[in-house]
């Protein structure tokens, strides 16, 4: 018998990045006990559940809440740093995060109309320029810089989320759940230029037909993985820096010259140098020399490039907007949401782009407390007056 709690324990454990043995050690039980809870052959005691709740950050109401059936993951769940850093464990963490995120999203979809999924299906071609142009055309865009990238993706039906796995080598991943595309951007690096590039890289995985059809086992093949990663990178470069308009901007091929273009195109100098080389605007030796200079200057290190502060972030606004709609139409208050949707606070805050206090009924309690005090004070004053 596989009860909701069994699936939730697996979900909570994998999201936290623990193996069964690690969780067992944490809870001071045998690994077999954890396995039995998860396969549903045994129920955890109330004390066990409380310990699980405490250690894994899932509330008791969430642990006994069934995982909605319609939620399933389709298409690739890919990582940019798969080969170097992301193990199967990280993949499971990402899968579980997407699952929870989608649960909130679909709960919201019953209350709020979101933009339709308007992702184009693009055939892979040898020329990344053609693929990027096809996407720009499908979305009615010209060849000018795209600064409001988050707004663009959300308006085309992509749900944006953030993922924090405590590993700054983790970049981003994407998936399709019940027909809805999701992109999760790593929030460890705090590097807007990188996030913008990552978002377009994931857009490629979602829009390119051949990438949509890949299975998880395909992604275990290093050759396939390396091919699709190269395609997605090339697509991202061409999407952000179209040849027709970026090309004529590259007049000064020194690092200072590229720096001057950074705030216009909102792309890192490194990505611009790479793209300029791809477009044959600079020779291979110039490309190598520029990257040598970039390394010497330490720009390849985290947050190393100048003018990073000029790059607009991949802004998310639909979560916040949906919360406003729910509150202004008196559907419910923000602090009532956790009782219907007992998700970890971090996930609620991330989806709704809101402070944790908003989901706590502290405000109401304080008002009641003040009222009681003022009534009591008023009574004493009246008594004294008599």
């Amino acid at each position: 018998m596989n009860l909701p709690v069994s699936k939730r324990i697996t979900q909570a454990r994998e999201l936290a990045g623990f193996s069964k043995a690690e969780l067992a050690k944490l809870l001071d039980v045998s690994p077999a006990a954890v396995a039995q809870w998860e396969n549903g052959s045994k129920h955890p005691t109330a004390d066990n559940l409380q310990a699980i709740s405490r250690h894994l950050g899932f509330s008791m109401p969430l642990l006994i809440r069934p995982i909605p059936e319609p939620i399933f993951v389709r298409g690739p769940l890919t990582f940019r740093a798969w080969t170097s850093a992301v193990s199967r464990k990280s993949n499971r963490r990402a899968f579980r995060l997407a699952e929870l995120f989608a649960e909130v999203y679909f709960w919201l979809s019953d209350r709020v109309n979101f933009p339709e999924n308007n992702l184009p299906d693009i055939e892979c071609k040898d020329d990344p320029e053609e693929m990027a142009q096809e996407c720009r055309r499908a979305w009615g865009l010209g060849n000018r810089p795209i600064l409001k990238l988050g707004e663009l993706l959300e308006s085309k039906g992509v749900v944006l989320g953030s993922a924090s796995f405590g590993d700054d080598r983790f970049d981003a991943f994407s998936c399709v759940i019940s027909g809805r595309p999701f992109i999760f951007l790593g929030d460890e690096k705090k590097d807007a230029a990188r996030s913008r590039f990552d978002a377009c890289h994931e857009l490629a995985h979602l829009a390119l037909v051949e990438h949509q059809q890949l299975t998880e086992s395909d992604l275990c093949d290093p050759k396939t993985l390396s091919k699709i990663e190269a395609e997605a990178n090339a697509f991202a470069g061409a999407f952000l820096l179209p040849e027709e308009t970026f090309g004529p901007d590259v007049l000064d091929v020194t690092l200072d010259g590229f720096l001057k273009l950074k705030s216009k195109w909102a792309v890192s100098v490194q990505a611009m140098v790479f793209r300029a080389h791809q477009l044959e605007l600079i020779s291979h030796s110039q490309y190598q020399e520029l990257f040598r200079q970039i390394s010497v200057k330490g720009w390849r290190k985290k947050r190393g490039e100048p003018l990073d502060e000029c790059i607009p972030e991949v802004k998310r606004s639909l979560g916040k907007r949906s919360l406003e709609l729910i509150e202004s139409n008196k559907v419910m208050h923000a602090w009532e949401i956790p009782s219907e949707l007992p998700m970890p606070q971090k996930i609620l805050c991330d989806i709704f782009q809101a402070d944790p206090e908003l989901f706590e009924p502290a405000e109401l309690e304080r008002i009641i407390a003040v009222d009681f005090k003022s009534v009591a004070r008023q009574s004493s004053v009246e008594e004294l007056a008599r």
Partner: protein, 220 residues
């Protein structure tokens, strides 16, 4: 033979180079803010922090101006480092920006009308400028092959920058402005012409719509 300051400026410091100087000053002052931020280290929280800022600004301005020359932004201007004290290679150095007709040194001043700090070199340069600024009769017998300019800048956030010619060896405060306020020139960055993208739209489901609020909205 004297140099005509206006012709010299038009040749060595045309407007596009002044705009480049503007962006170099902005970069230099931004470096100072970052490097001297007391949050970086408690060492910079004493009242002497401003000395640290002053020295850093001097170094940063010269660094960015030299970088501007080397990157081609200030084409035709060569960076020349000169030791402050002659024959002392290990003393600190001053950056002179040599054009065809002018030699320019950057100097921070706290107010627009303030005079650069006095030094023997500056006095000599002012004397050398006398003939170039038309004081042929009273000019001392010093002739400079280049017009010596000072690129004054200040206050705390690069609010102003002027190319100035000082020419009175006895009075460090007498000058002629040879440019407008460089920091007021239009920016070097091209105006960004971006794709217009509307904010994504979301709406409450019809069955959950609060009609009272809708009516209020319509009445408004």
């Amino acid at each position: 033979m004297s140099l005509d300051p206006i012709t010299a400026i038009e040749h060595d410091w045309p407007i596009h180079k002044q705009i480049a100087v503007q962006s170099l000053f902005q970069s230099a002052y931004a470096s100072v803010t970052e490097l001297c931020d007391p949050k970086r280290s408690p060492v910079f929280t004493t009242p002497n922090q401003r000395l640290h800022s002053g020295y850093t600004r001097w170094i940063a301005v010269n660094y960015w101006l030299e970088r501007g020359c080397n990157s081609g932004l200030l084409e035709g201007i060569s960076p020349v480092w000169k030791p402050v004290f002659e024959n002392q290679d290990k003393s600190c150095s001053i950056l002179e920006l040599h054009g065809k007709f002018t030699s320019t040194v950057a100097c921070h001043i706290s107010e627009i009308e303030a005079s650069p700090r006095e030094s023997r070199t500056r006095r000599d340069y002012r004397a050398g400028n006398q003939k170039n600024f038309g004081f042929l009769e009273s000019a001392v017998d010093v002739e400079s092959p280049l017009l010596n300019l000072i690129l004054v800048h200040g206050d705390k956030n690069a609010e102003f920058a002027f190319l100035r010619g000082y020419y009175d060896p006895d009075n460090a405060g007498v000058f002629t402005d040879l440019s407008g306020n460089i920091m007021d020139l239009p920016t070097i960055m091209p105006a960004v012409d971006e794709e217009p993208i509307d904010d994504p739209d979301a709406d409450i489901k019809d069955h959950l719509r609060d009609e009272e609020e809708d009516e209020e909205g319509q009445n408004e």
